[in-house]
Amino acid sequence: MYKFILLTFLSTIIGNAAALQSEKELTNKELLQEINSLKKELQELKQSTQENREELEDISDFTEDIEATLLKDKIEFGLGFKTNLDNFNKKYSNGEHVRNNNIWSNKLMLNMKADITDNMKFYGKLSMYKYWGSSAIHPYTYYDNMQGRVPSDSSIYAERAYLNWFFYKDSAFPMALTIGRLPTSDGPSHQFKDNTVRKGTYTALLFDGVADGIVFTTNISKLLHNKNSYIRLGYSKGYGHTESSQTAGNAFIGASNSDIDDTNVVGIFLDTPLPNVKNSLVQLTYSRMFDIVANPLDTNISATGANDNIGSLDLLGAMVELTNFKETNLDLFAQFGYSIAHPNGTSYMLPNGELVGLLGKDGDTSTKSGYSTWVGGRYGFGEKQKYKVGLEYNYGSQNWINLTQGGFDIYNKLATRGNAYEAYMMYVINRNANIRLGYINIDYNYSRSGWFVGEAQKISTVDSADVVERLQSVYLKMNVHF
């Protein structure tokens, strides 16, 4: 019995041991398979990593090529393009009516930007502005502040070319020096009509045109506890006499002349938003123009009644601008300008033989003050504000004078001594293009709007085929900026 039990026990142990042995063998097999499979996967992974590495190297080479190209493209170009159709209706002070319909013009603008270093940037704008089917050079093109600003031939003019040099960027009062052909054109509040962002520094009611100079800017946001607040001090040359323009063949550029002084302009400008009002701008301006020259194009400077310095001018301005006011798609602006002319009594002889001084007659030295207001608004509606309507009005008094001779549009409406109304509808084709249909009506109360020389006479007392009493235009403009 004991033997039987012992034998049974032994056989059970041996049987279990054999089964265990067999299980162990199976596990090893599986493990081996697993190891082989892992080896294979590892091999594949290695291969894939190698491929990825090679691909990455290719991409890295490609990225370096792109970087090199970007670094080589030192100037970034942008495009501006305008096509205008104007239909003029003019009424002269003698009662005569003249229509000039179907007047087409193109303006091409090549905008340039270069990041020279983190602290130095360059901006430029090259412009061609011409009427369709004509390459006649407009005489006003020779005025430095009107180059590229009036339709002329197909020449390209440098409308802007300036350096922004930033310093003390991380201090409480970051500073910048702007040197060159300055962003003095198309300033606030013309951007609404163009459906773009602010494209100029100074209020367009006072300054619009081309100017060379230096501007010192300090960010005073911390001082005023108001973001985007700046003080600017500017110096510009309105007229620089060159001997070469005096006598043909004499190429002595830049020589001074005792008969005539250069026109210098200095100014101080404050930019600040209204406290807690998003997208707002307040600008206060004071500037003085010294030694105004009667006619910058007249090279005759030594005879009696010849070109000369005729006085000085103070210009003061204040403006408020609200873009997308309270998120209502409504843009509003209001500007006020005040001019004080100080004639020195020197006379200039006009081609018709009339002797005139600064805003007055021959020998007149009395101070002439004038003012102007410009208000307007624009409202966007429809899906993504694809449609916009705008209204603008400006008024100028008898002796109002400003520096908008190279203005935003060919009407120079902001120099008006009288009333000007403008209404427009705009269709925004896409982010970069729009079409504007508008109507402008200018009623001149006084003559010589925008002229520095001669007395502003009441239109009702003038009977002339040269003096416009009323100017109207129905226009269509297409504007692309990219």
Binding site: N164, A176, T201, A334
Partner: protein, 86 residues
């Protein structure tokens, strides 16, 4: 004329404080508008994966639209003001 003068004088007084939440939202999501070009931002808003990556997918459609508009408006190649010294 008098009306326009009055409008000019009183305009600053009729406005009230307002500030956009969208710039703060962009900041909260760690999105810097100037880090991408317009087409790149447009691509972000077309891709579910990218929206998830930038955590935009959790926003309401209205907020998404507003954020997209903001980012495009301030993208690296967007239309920028040209002003001396800024």
């Amino acid at each position: 004329m008098k009306l326009s003068f009055l409008f000019f004088i009183f305009l600053p007084l009729i406005v009230s404080a307002h500030d956009s939440e969208i710039s703060l939202l962009a900041k909260r999501l760690n999105l810097s508008a100037g880090s991408k070009a317009i087409v790149q931002w447009e691509r972000v808003f077309k891709s579910t994966r990218k929206m998830k990556k930038y955590k935009i997918d959790t926003l309401t459609n209205e907020k998404k639209e507003m954020l997209k508009e903001y980012l495009i408006q301030h993208a690296i190649d967007s239309d920028q003001p040209t002003i001396a010294g800024i």
